[in-house]
């Protein structure tokens, strides 16, 4: 491949990735709008809202990590070194959570 073709290919690739980033940005704005609309409509209980909002936020975080932070295009060994550990440790943090209902259920005795 000669230099001119390489430059053209690089420019085309750059253009395509710009469109990809633009789409990711639009998806993120759309999901945010959905979250705000759900809050304004206010038909769900706090617990249901919590589950819906967390699910949407995890999708948004995934989009940011995969495309803006480019992790989707990194080597698999890097992804596997970074992601599962964080997921496990964050899950472990929830081990404390049932205790939060103790005061309301059992009082402070």
């Amino acid at each position: 491949m000669d230099t001119a073709m390489e430059t053209a290919a690089a420019a085309r690739h750059g253009h395509e990735s710009h469109r990809l980033y633009l789409w990711v940005w639009l998806y993120l704005l759309g999901l945010t709008a959905l979250e705000i609309a759900l809050a304004l409509v206010d038909v769900f209980s706090t617990m249901v809202m919590l589950v819906i909002l967390m699910a949407l936020s995890i999708v948004k975080a995934g989009l940011i990590v995969a495309y803006f932070m480019h992790l989707r295009f990194e080597r698999k060994s890097l992804v596997l070194s970074l992601v599962p550990g964080v997921v496990v440790v964050i899950s472990l943090l929830f081990a404390f959570f049932p205790d939060s209902f103790r005061i309301l259920e059992l009082g402070t005795q």
Binding site: L28, H70, R75, S77
Partner: protein, 210 residues
């Protein structure tokens, strides 16, 4: 045969060799920092949820105007600054210094706008009487969780703006290259990502009606 097998083993990505992740040390270091920082913010968000679940009626002081509307604009600013940041990284990859600096400056402007609106939000709440351990609505820890969570995030945004400023100043002089811009971008996207959890958990779940 044995030699050929050894050669193949070095070539597989699992064996690692000298370059197991195929990223530079700066980028790997930033990923490890993001790893630890994400656990800090997770712990704070879970502590906030814990306190909220353990309290009776949590205050819902965020009305459509100005709090939710402003927080929505702030979310838009951070998301858009992430977009300009990926544009800056793409420009840096093509060694286009002028466009790199311009997009980094746009990113910084988004961060500064976020900071101004957020400090204004803090001032509004403080004028309503919210302090670290007291507020007019009952649950004393509301202020502690709110200020700790959003305050730590604000410090991250402020340091991010300074970090990007240093990078932008060094790019035209050739002091900082593509990898520096890319790594500062990783940090900036992470700050954006954290807000994607703070905004729904702190603001939308405490929506106090119109």
């Amino acid at each position: 045969m044995a030699e050929a097998t050894a050669g193949q083993a070095i070539a597989t990505e699992w064996d690692g060799g000298a370059f197991p992740y195929a990223v530079g040390h700066k980028k790997l270091g930033m990923w490890f920092f993001i790893l630890s920082d994400s656990l800090t913010f997770s712990a704070l968000l879970i502590a906030y949820s814990y306190v909220r679940a353990a309290s009776g009626t949590w205050p819902t002081p965020f009305h459509l105007w100005p709090s939710i509307a402003m927080a929505t604009v702030m979310t838009g600013l951070l998301l858009s600054s992430s977009l300009t940041m990926v544009m800056a990284v793409a420009a840096a990859k093509q060694s286009d210094h002028r466009r790199t600096v311009r997009y980094i400056l746009l990113t910084m402007a988004g961060g500064l706008g976020f900071l101004v609106l957020h400090l204004n939000e803090w001032a509004t709440l403080m004028a309503e009487g919210v302090r670290f351990s007291q507020n007019p609505w009952g649950v004393p820890l509301f202020g502690a969780t709110f200020f700790a969570l959003t305050g730590l995030h604000m410090i991250h945004v402020a340091s991010g703006v300074i970090y990007l400023g240093v990078i932008a100043a060094g790019v035209p002089r050739g002091r900082f290259g593509y990898e520096h811009v890319e790594v500062s971008g990783l940090y900036w996207h992470f700050v954006d990502l954290v807000w994607m959890f703070i905004f729904p958990l702190v603001y939308l779940l405490s929506f106090g009606g119109n």
